[in-house]
């Protein structure tokens, strides 16, 4: 199927008005994402990007197609300015402009020609080609490692925040209980300190 230039241009338009969102919770569904982003504009379609090769806990990614490119830009800037959360907090989702290679149903580039050739050891480029192959493999390993590292960092941050959160919650609980059982007011009277009393 040769894609006509027109088809390809249409696809390009689609890319422009699509947003790539990641750091999504695994429990988020298309409906959820659509509802979340409908605040900003007209969401046409939400498609998740399947993750076959990477570890499972990196969060989902989705391609969200909205009505036009301007809406897409607005959403991206909004999401970059203030943290937006879907299905969980406080980790915000991240939005960026979509790229053609993110789509799995993309048409072929019209006019793209693929030329291949086999090399054998007598070919002068063979050595270099092999070196390239090995480097590619090595780099894939490096990427894997970096991803692992990233995930570890995220876990660490998450743990740290959980602790902080629980501590804060305890504090608030104490404050609340003290206020509600009037201990605070009694103490205030004792020490002749003013207490802002919202109940009265």
């Amino acid at each position: 199927m040769e894609t006509s230039d027109k088809e390809y241009a249409a696809f390009g338009e689609k890319v422009k008005r699509t947003i790539f969102i990641d750091n999504l919770s695994p429990v988020a569904t298309e409906a959820v994402v659509k509802a979340a982003l409908d605040q900003f504009g007209n969401v046409i379609q939400v498609k998740f990007i399947p993750n076959y090769l990477e570890p499972k806990n990196i969060g989902q990614a989705a391609l969200v197609e909205v009505e036009n490119a301007d809406q897409a830009k607005t959403i991206i800037t909004e999401l970059s300015n203030s943290p937006f959360m879907i299905c969980g907090m406080p980790r915000p989702v991240r939005a960026r402009a979509a790229e053609a290679e993110m789509f799995d149903d993309r048409p072929r580039k019209p006019g793209s020609k693929i030329v291949c050739r086999w090399l054998d050891s007598s070919d002068p480029d063979f050595e270099v080609a092999n070196k390239i192959k090995l480097t590619v493999r090595k780099q894939a390993e490096e990427s894997k490692f970096l991803l692992k590292h990233q995930l570890e960092e995220e876990e660490n941050l998450s743990k740290k925040q959980t602790e902080t959160l629980n501590a804060s919650y305890k504090k608030f609980e104490i404050i609340e209980s003290v206020v509600s059982n009037r201990v605070a007011t009694r103490l205030a009277e004792r020490y002749r300190v003013r207490v802002a009393d919202t109940e009265q």
Binding site: M1, F20, S25, P26, A31, V32, A36, N51, Y52, L53, E54, P55, K56, N57, E78, P83, F84, M85, C87, G88, M89, P90, R91, E99, E101, D104, R108, K109, K113, I114, V115, C116, W118, L119, D120, S121, S122, D123, D125, A129, N130, K131, I132, K133, L134, V136, R137, Q139, A140, E141, E142, F145, L146, Q150, E153, E154, L157, S158, Q161, Y169
Partner: protein, 725 residues
Amino acid sequence: MALAEAVKVEPSADLENDEEVNFVWGRKRGIGGKRKEVQFYESFTYDDVEYALYDCVYMHKEGQLPYIGKIIKIWENPDKSRKIKVHWFFRLSEILYHLKGVKVAAENEIFLASGEGTGLANVNPLEAIAGKCNVVCISEDNRNPQPSEEEVKTADFVFYRAFDVGKCSILDKMDDKVGGLDGMCLSSLVKYVFNRKESQKASHVLKHASDQNGDNNAVEFQATTKESFGLKALNDLGTFKASHLDGKIDVDAQSSLVRQDALQRETNVSRVNKETTKKANSASGEQNSHDVSRVAKAAGKLSHIVGKSDVNVQTSPVRQDPLHGDANDSRVKQQSAMKGNPAPVQIVNSTTTTVVHKQNTISEENARCKTKNEKDDKKVNKPPINLVEAGETGKSPKDLGVLDGRPSNRIKVNDSVILSEDKGVNSVEKSTVCRNEKKVLGTSAVPSEERKKSVDSKDSAGGLDKNMKIRKDSAALDSRPSKKANIDARKVQEDRDKSNMLGKRADNLGKLPKLSTGTSPKEVERTEGKSFEVTRRPVAESSKWFKAPPWEEVMQTANEQGTLILLENLNPEYTSGEVEDIIWHACRENCTTKMVQRTAFSSPYSGRALVAFKTRGVAERVTKKLADGCLMVSNQRPLVASFVSLPKTEGNASSLAGHLCVDKLRLQLQREMREAVSTSHCSQPNTIEYEMANEWRLLQARSDSWWNRLYKQQKEDLTKIASGL
């Protein structure tokens, strides 16, 4: 009372010391004040740096990047306190919000404050100066002496626009009344805003080249840091200018050296900056590094990794001017990619850089980056060697496996190639040998046990035979295209019959037009070393109506049967269909392919695809072929093929790291969650949630920067190697 006096006494005591040590007044300018008690000056020398009226300087700011301002008045009060009036410039990061949709001229563009309101200019004690700043005006106004390219490149900052502090908007034109300052007339503008004539500036530029380069590095990076804290800056914008008040800045603070207590990330920056700008001129590199290392030690682990990463980037030495340009370029690129790096432990020269390294815990990724950057680093200092060693030992378990495999890979490849010259006599033996050795390659996804099974060795040998035969034939038949076409056609026919049962019609394939065998002659000769064009592969007539199962199923079956291959180093622009065509043309095998879609951390230049074959034998054959020989796609990319098994799903993750829940409320929440359709919202500032969210954004931004740097480095490596083609 006594206390207040005591406090007051101290500064002047310090002042006296300063006077003796590193402060000298320059030319007098006039007397002023109510009782003619104030002495104005045109210049002064502070800390061995000469400052003159209308020079641009950095001003200390506690816990933040230094401010940039232009000295517009210098005087000494009767109580011997020295003051300067500073007209402010805004950094990009300081007015990020107002820059929406505005095109920025450069990474280091700043804006002259103008209009009326707070934040235009302030009086400050002279001791708040943190160093000189090279700001070049690139306005095309004809009153402005145009700077040379060199000057623009080496400038710390450039500006040509103003920011109105009252209206909070960008002004493109340099008004005559910039800042509404006392009696600003045209000549003042020329003197004040635009670049000054060469003679005045040249000496400054030369003399403080190294100093400014250091500041340049320091400040540029800080600029990006600030950008990441753009959100915070928004909130602070209202307040920070207010703090530019007289005497707020602690004299002691500036003249003292690095503080020892544990610091936040931002304070790290300012401390180091103070340190470096103060000491930059003195060639006491030792002292520099020593103090800086103390600072670095105090920082947390998180900032270590990033700090080191940033520092890594900066290892290209600053002092050597020829390199400076490069350093700038690479940094600029990375800055545009980086969204934010806290605690870029800003260091002027690479000695301090490396000492920081030494002090910090070493992380592998960093070590790797470091060793990579080492290629660029002309100055090899002692500490990096330690790092490299540590980095290498860290790397070794992982890489050694791969490394070991390499030499044997080479040998094996040679063998198999020689093999093809024979008429396939020893093909069977060699192929098994090759297969055994292949497991040494150490690709993580390869289950070596499976490889050992010489499945279908006959088949593969047969395949090899056929290929060779065809090659031989076609070599002989070079000038007889028709016969070649027949051979090809015959092979096509055979293969098609064989692969009739392949449910290879994925959805996108269904649209492929039927090509008759007559199109195959379009192919260029498929001999060793000759290239061929990949066109649409022929589609079996009978399979037209055969509905292909969805990719997921195909993939899962292939995964179970061990017929799933991962292809790497593809052009990421290829579609799944194109990859299938490539496989078809190269190996005469049909397959179902899915290009792995790009995500936030996919390699931008090495595309990957999952290929599912029908039988194990076919899969092995193709893999072997691609591994032994080199299939160069589009003359630059040898395909890398390997078996892969999908990572097992340990149950579906029920939540993402970072989605927190207060334990006590957990039960309650779950009930609510089930009922709520969506609980999405924008976080509001002044909540704990907001702060935590910002921490996550920071981490996200940092991750982005890691990936960008990694891929950039990888790309460089590859292009370097590829240039040998």
